[in-house]
Amino acid sequence: MNIYVLVKRTFDTEEKIVLNGGVIQEDGAEFIINPYDEYAIEEAIQIRDAQGGEVTVVTIGGEDAEKQLRTALAMGADKAVLINAEEDVEDLDQFSVAYILAEYLKDKEADLIIAGNVAIDGGSGQVGPRVAELLDINYVTTITDLDIDGDTVKLVRDVEGDSEVIESSLPLLVTAQQGLNEPRYPSLPGIMKAKKKPLEELELDDLDIDEDDVEAKTETVEIFLPAQKEAGRVLQGELQDQVKELVQLLHSEAKVI
């Protein structure tokens, strides 16, 4: 089984967002593997361990993303690829990122590609399905279960709380939803081994991609923080009276019921 996992380096979920001159300040922030991509890595490792094959993790990013790739290798992935587009293009949107990944993947004969269903920073959830479409393979998003038997793939897909039981076949791209598995922590021997595992760095030139091919279709013109919510009112008095007051307030002041 030839498995590719698409990963992204993101801010830690516990980080606050601070703007500096209209730009999100990254200095001092903790970075992690996008949590949904961790499910993807874990699933890939489990499938390889059960059925044999190889797991390659791929990311697009700067040098900094090497740390997250090493973590994926320490979890048990076999190889890592860092596509460094920073030197060539300033702004990438989902169109650009999907194009680059598909150009990289098109001759790799992947049986299975796994990605997180969404990255917790940009939150668009586009890249997985876009890559599948560019490679002309099928995809299933937000999966919570995956079972491969030969070429037949049985999946469970989370659809707004309901579950769809789905049958498809390889090659396939899937995106991981929470609940798919319990991602492992890298072990100490894993971390030692990861240092020696291959990590390939590519630039757009290596993939024969022209800057014009990946020019973003959309552009962020401004980033802003939501209005600070002011702490409201903590009700006082007997509990029963507080409950009555609350229902009254929701009705007459907040007008939400």
Binding site: G122, T144, G161, I166, L225, G232, V256
Partner: protein, 324 residues
Amino acid sequence: MSKKVLVLSEVREGTLRNVSFEAIASAKTIADGGEVVGVLIGDAVETLSAELIQYGADRIVTVEHPHLKQYTSDGFSQAFVAVADAEKPDAIVFGHTALGKDLSPKIASKLQSGLISDVTAIEGEGDDALFIRPIYSGKAFEKVKVKDGLVFITIRPNNIAPLEKDESRSGEVSSISVDITNLRTVIKEVVRKTTDGVDLSEAKVVVSGGRGVKSAEGFAPLQELAKVLGGAVGASRGACDADYCDYSLQIGQTGKVVTPDLYIACGISGAIQHLAGMSNSKIIVAINKDPEANIFKVADYGIVGDLFEVVPMLIEEFKSVAVK
């Protein structure tokens, strides 16, 4: 310049989802005096056309086929792309729902276009439209524009108000016949877990539980409160990690982001990762034993007390108000 905008309407169990009307309102803003064309895809959906027109669509195009009874990305993309080829729109609007999230990137890729997902507000009209969307699960927002070519957006349910229903409106309804073939996904079964069909992302009221709920059984009063208010039940990561409930209920930076009119947080401390998923709700009520809990910092109204005492009282009070 006025634009022609296609809106994919979403049908669930025979009725149109609210987000479809919100999408029409968004399309009107983008159209800037141009035409809004509703697209209905399914096995028997034509009868829903009139309602879409009453909510502001100018014209409806339907694609009906037995293979479109259930959503699959292959089936629906073949149908929608056929409509797009025939209509040559300047813009497309989908709901940012399970269906919209799954389908829109595939179609954007087929049409080689950009796609602005999860839009919560539109600033300006027509060519000048800027699309506002949350990033970092609502910890920040970005304003995005389309540089060139097709304007394609998905809108988050519950954020953009639909237009007023006008029963006097009428419009043309036409159909396109498409041969739906080569479906690579077969849906064997759909297991319904959602309570009473109120979807968490579209619910006007969300009653949410955290570690303070203490057990799976502890969610029972929350479910009852949600039922009384016609809302849905959600949970914090703490409650999901502790196995009190399914991960599909999780609200937060990992999990769902919700923006209901009313969010009632029960026994939730208010970790930053949870706040990211709910702090843009219109009104937040916090019920927690700990007066120092972080959740009170974002709550409009707070009650310091045991949720197992407060929630049953709330249920009774809401019931008695409803009776009056």
